[in-house]
């Protein structure tokens, strides 16, 4: 039984770390849109130039806000998962390497 719990804790730890990688992917997407859409000079300085502000404020900012909410939700789920994994981990009284190493910054 203890072995099974430890396997579960190890996989929960792996997914906990994995979610951080996923969250970083969201950051990459946000930066990509900002760099390639919000900061573009494609609309020139003439009659089309207001499009730049419209697109930055009407598309890029809400897109960034949506990603931010997604990351916040993922961090919350991640935090909960850490608690679950750690509880499992502690059942046999041994703290595995992962939960030990993440204990100090799991809420970041």
């Amino acid at each position: 039984m203890t072995d099974r719990i430890q396997v579960a804790a190890d996989h929960i730890g792996a997914f906990h770390a994995y979610m951080m990688d996923i969250s970083n992917q969201l950051t990459e997407i946000g930066s990509y849109v900002w760099d390639n859409v919000a900061l573009t000079d494609a609309y020139g300085s003439g009659l089309l130039s207001p499009l730049r502000d419209y697109i930055r404020d009407g598309a890029c900012r809400p897109f960034g806000d949506a990603l931010s909410k997604g990351r916040t939700s993922m961090f919350a789920a991640r935090s909960n998962l850490w608690d679950v994994g750690h509880d499992f981990d502690m059942v046999d009284g041994v703290v595995s390497e992962y939960f030990e190493s993440t204990a100090s910054f799991q809420d970041e």
Partner: protein
């Protein structure tokens, strides 16, 4: 230690946006704009002199007064833009949408490892609850990815209209240039000091305004062309102001992400005694799907509206006046 590796890295999805290959460059340093400036200035001077000369014999010159303006300020600067860059923006948005869908796939594959590859060692209500909760994340990123990818259509619409405008401008420049070349040649006859205006008076006395009807017609056509460009300025300004409404679909994305239950204030998974209401989770999933479908529909509506705008802009851009413009015989080339 068990580790999960991300199956698809963002670097393979978020590649450099592809630009279009539209060739509608208008070079403001092109000599043709000097010719146009000369023609505008010459016509303005001719109108003033002709009005003065005609006034001395008690009549008024029937040609139009062409507004003194810079050809570059009229034709080039208002329409400055990089159509291929706008196409690249659309491609970037599409790739961002694919990125979100990739996030959904990566999450799903990670969950597969957690619940299947682990041998199903984590089970029970907490596991079910977490699986259901992460299922909402997956659905949200899938849906948002589709919405954002469809947002590309809005940029395609903007690019399409911008290219259309550029095409119109090129046509207007060509028409104006034909008229300018012709006018500069004809008006030059009357532009010579003393002799020119003496000939002008003699011609008009002998044949009436019919003697210079060609010049009057060409000046009228140039005037109409310039007026059409000013009309196009107004049409473009009006069209640009409609764009914010077309971007509402991006605002709705925030709402889609708000559908994810907030675990920060509700620690659903902190203990084995968790009592997750799966019905609520199911309802939230349905809300996400509904919101996504609504957003998709709105994106489609936005594209349709832009299509209509692209069709409609021809009317203010190419006015009825423009249709009447005829380059006098011999003006081409």
């Amino acid at each position: 230690m068990v580790t999960y590796t991300i199956p698809t890295e963002m670097s393979s999805v978020l590649t450099t946006p592809e630009e279009g290959d539209i060739e509608l460059e208008i070079d403001k340093n092109d000599d043709k704009f000097d010719t146009l400036n000369d023609a505008i200035e010459t016509c303005t001077g001719f109108y003033s002199d002709a009005q003065s000369v005609a006034g001395k014999v008690g009549i008024s010159f029937p040609g139009p007064q062409i507004q003194q303006t810079s050809a570059v300020e009229l034709f080039v600067e208002p329409f400055s833009g990089d159509w291929n860059g706008i196409i690249a923006c659309g491609d970037a948005v599409k790739k961002a949408g694919l990125g979100l869908q990739t996030v959904a796939e990566n999450l799903l594959l990670g969950m597969g490892q957690l619940f299947a590859s682990s041998g199903g060692e984590w089970e029970g209500e907490t596991a079910l609850s977490f699986n259901a909760h992460m299922g909402i994340h997956v659905a949200t990123y899938q849906g948002a990815g589709m919405v954002v990818s469809q947002g590309k259509l809005i940029f395609d619409g903007i690019s399409e209209v911008a290219q259309f405008i550029a095409g119109l401008v090129v046509e207007l420049i060509d028409t104006a240039l034909d008229l300018a070349v012709w006018l500069l040649e004809k008006i030059a006859v009357y532009g010579r000091p003393w002799i020119g205006w003496a000939k002008f008076v003699a011609d008009v006395i002998q044949d009436g305004w019919a003697a210079i009807q060609g010049i009057i017609d060409a000046m009228t056509s140039l005037y109409d062309t310039i007026t059409a460009v000013f009309d196009l300025h107004d049409a473009v300004k009006e069209w640009v102001e409609t764009i914010p409404a077309e971007l509402a679909v991006f605002e709705q994305l925030v709402g889609v992400f708000e559908q994810i239950p907030d675990l920060a204030s509700t620690p659903l998974l902190t203990a084995a005694a968790i009592r997750n209401d799966l019905n609520d989770v199911g309802q939230s999933s349905q809300d996400v799907i509904d919101a996504r479908r609504q957003a998709e529909q709105d994106a489609e509506d936005a594209q349709n509206r832009l299509d209509e705008l692209a069709d409609g802009i021809e009317k203010p851009g190419v006015s009825d006046d423009m249709e009447g413009i005829e380059v006098p015989e011999g003006a081409e080339g």
